[in-house]
């Protein structure tokens, strides 16, 4: 394996689709047995990154090693070491849950009996034992998602790629899945997961990279990222969303939710007094002011300069 003991190493990976630069250049390292959480807004390039590492897409340039194998030079060796649960549940509607898992086992070149045993074990583990002999056509979205995750685990892969694994799961299933991932990691599995849920990254990921427009905007542990933002977040609430968006302009921030604007007090450059003075100068009066610890959401919104749909953009348009 590599000298650093990293299970996944990407060195300046790049992928374009015609004019669209999906991944500009991204380098990362995931130590063996750890979890890397990849955060980013829609279209940031997360799925493209996962696809290149999982040998589904060939990078335009750059290099990547997974479990010690080059993804371009030795893709089959990489494939023997990974499990991939892509963004959409990749299961065959016309096969039963069990048949889907057995098929993956057979195509991973397990023996027939091992493939069957694995299928049964995984159906149990993901709470699908009762539905195992039904065609997937009859499954709910969450059941498909769980089956898909099971399919990624068929061959006990040492490296797992999970692209938004808990999207579409109910809260109980999400907690279950987090438990499954934690168990796998405790047993030495390396996981790269993308997620839209910052809480998920906060709980599972040892390290986080924030991807923005195909580049890494920030990386570090959840704590390091929060620390970077400074100690405290000031949260202003305004009467209407149009007032909020004018306030966001005055404060040089963006609207976080319909009527809420957050300002990060980073290293004393913005103090509460400064912020209130700026609002006073713009003749805006907040209806509510609160101070609190920064969350990963604040990190994310600050780094990607994004605001939820219907926020600032909608109000000022």
């Amino acid at each position: 394996m590599t000298a650093t003991g990293a299970a996944i190493v990407a060195d300046n990976l790049r992928k374009t689709f015609g004019e669209v630069v999906a991944v500009d250049h991204i380098s990362l390292e995931v130590p063996r047995g750890s979890v890397l959480g990849m955060l980013g807004v829609n279209g940031a390039g997360k799925t493209t990154m996962v696809r290149m590492l999982a040998t589904v897409l060939k990078p335009d340039s750059g290099r990547a090693m997974v479990h010690g194998f080059d993804v371009v030079e030795h893709p089959q060796a990489v494939r023997r070491s990974i499990g991939l649960a892509g963004q959409s549940a990749a299961v065959d509607e016309n096969l039963t849950g069990r048949e889907n898992l057995v098929l993956v086992g057979r195509l991973t070149h397990l023996s027939k009996s091992t493939a069957r045993q694995r299928a049964d074990a995984l159906l149990d583990q993901f709470g699908l034992a009762d539905a195992g002999n039904r065609p997937v056509r009859t499954y709910s979205g969450g059941m498909r998602r769980r089956l898909d995750l099971g399919a990624a685990l068929v061959a006990h892969p040492p490296v797992l790629f999970l692209d938004e694994p808990t999207t579409g799961l109910d809260p109980a299933s999400r907690l279950d899945l987090w438990g499954v991932i934690e168990t796998l990691v405790a047993d030495g599995t390396t996981v790269l997961l993308t997620t839209q849920y910052l809480e998920e990254a906060d709980r599972l990921a040892d390290n986080i990279v924030v991807v923005d427009k195909g580049l890494i905007a920030a990386e570090g542990s959840a704590k390091q990222l929060k620390d970077r933002l400074g100690d405290t977040v000031i949260e202003f609430e305004f009467a209407t969303s149009s007032v909020a968006s004018s306030a966001a302009v005055a404060l040089g921030s963006s609207v976080a939710a319909a009527t809420i604007v957050r300002v990060v007090m980073s290293n004393g450059s913005v103090t509460l007094r400064d912020a209130l003075n700026l609002l006073a100068a713009a003749e805006i009066v907040p209806s509510h002011v609160a101070l609190r610890e920064p969350t990963l959401d604040d990190v994310f919104l600050t780094l990607t300069h994004s605001s939820p749909i219907g926020g600032a953009a909608g109000a000022t348009a």
């Binding site: 589904v56 060796a77 991939l84 065959d92 096969l95 993956v104 195509l107």
Partner: protein
């Protein structure tokens, strides 16, 4: 590289096993949703009844019996339409993300396409066999021996296989099954209808006749007639010509489809 690459598992034996696994998977749908097979059977059935009983009386063909002339044309049309399944199947697998999963597995790269194309070929054999029975029921008679009739079936299935590669290429290029179906139809007008499958091209205007006598669907239909009907109208030359077309189409399009699959 300082690490050892494990034993290559993508040898020929694995390619065959993976292909068989994929064929099994692709054929399961016939057991689970038999209606789909019935639908693909209904369409040629309608053609048989339309041409046999509605237009048949007005159509003159060389060598006498129209139903004998018609059925080989319908068979070829049936395998051609059956090949659309390849495009729909692949496009849907791509749409659902299934191709992505398969591409991340250590399976043989060629098994995905081979499994698709061969499953659709088996399906074609099934449908054509049923159509032979239907033909007999509406008065179709072969004038050669059983061996030649079987060779006729093989000839059209080989032609269907060639078209499967064409549709594999289309299936990989479009985003979903509906788009695959929509892309297939414009191909069929010039290939299946402007052909000698249903009528004698000598009744067509000159430019159309030129095309209808030379294009591969017509050649395949004539080849099947040569094997099932025989006689001076349909010399064995057409059989060789059709085999050449089918092998030629496959030889060009299969590698293109495989390349496209590896690049998606």
């Amino acid at each position: 590289m300082s690490v050892d690459v494990p034993r290559r598992n993508d040898g020929f034996v694995w390619a065959v096993r993976d292909t068989l696994a994929m064929i099994g998977r692709n054929l399961t749908v016939i057991r689970r949703v038999p209606q789909l097979l019935v639908f693909s059977f209904v369409q040629p059935l309608i053609f048989v009844f339309m041409f046999r009983y509605v237009f048949g009386g007005a159509i003159k063909v060389p060598g006498g019996s129209y139903v004998d002339y018609l059925m080989p044309g319908v068979f070829v049309q049936t395998v051609a339409f059956g090949a659309i399944n390849t495009a729909i199947g692949l496009a849907e697998d791509k749409n659902k993300g299934l191709l992505e999963r398969l591409q991340s597995l250590p399976m043989s790269r060629s098994a995905v396409l081979a499994g698709r194309v061969l499953a659709d070929t088996i399906r074609n054999v099934l449908i054509v066999s049923l159509m032979l029975v239907v033909g007999t029921m509406v008065g179709f008679h072969t004038h050669t021996n059983a061996l030649k009739v079987a060779a006729g079936v093989a000839l059209m299935v080989l032609f269907g296989l060639a078209l499967c590669w064409l549709f594999a290429l289309i299936g990989l290029a479009v985003p979903n099954g509906e788009a695959a179906q929509a892309a297939a139809f414009p191909l069929f007008a010039p290939l299946v209808f402007a052909s000698s499958a249903f009528v004698d091209p000598r009744t067509m205007p000159g430019w159309l006749r030129w095309w209808a006598e030379r294009q591969p669907v017509s050649i395949a239909a004539k080849g099947v007639r040569a094997l099932m009907l025989g006689g001076p109208q349909f010399p064995m030359d057409y059989v060789w010509a059709s085999i050449a077309w089918s092998l030629g189409i496959s030889a060009v399009l299969a590698p293109l489809a495989v390349r496209k699959f590896r690049r998606t």
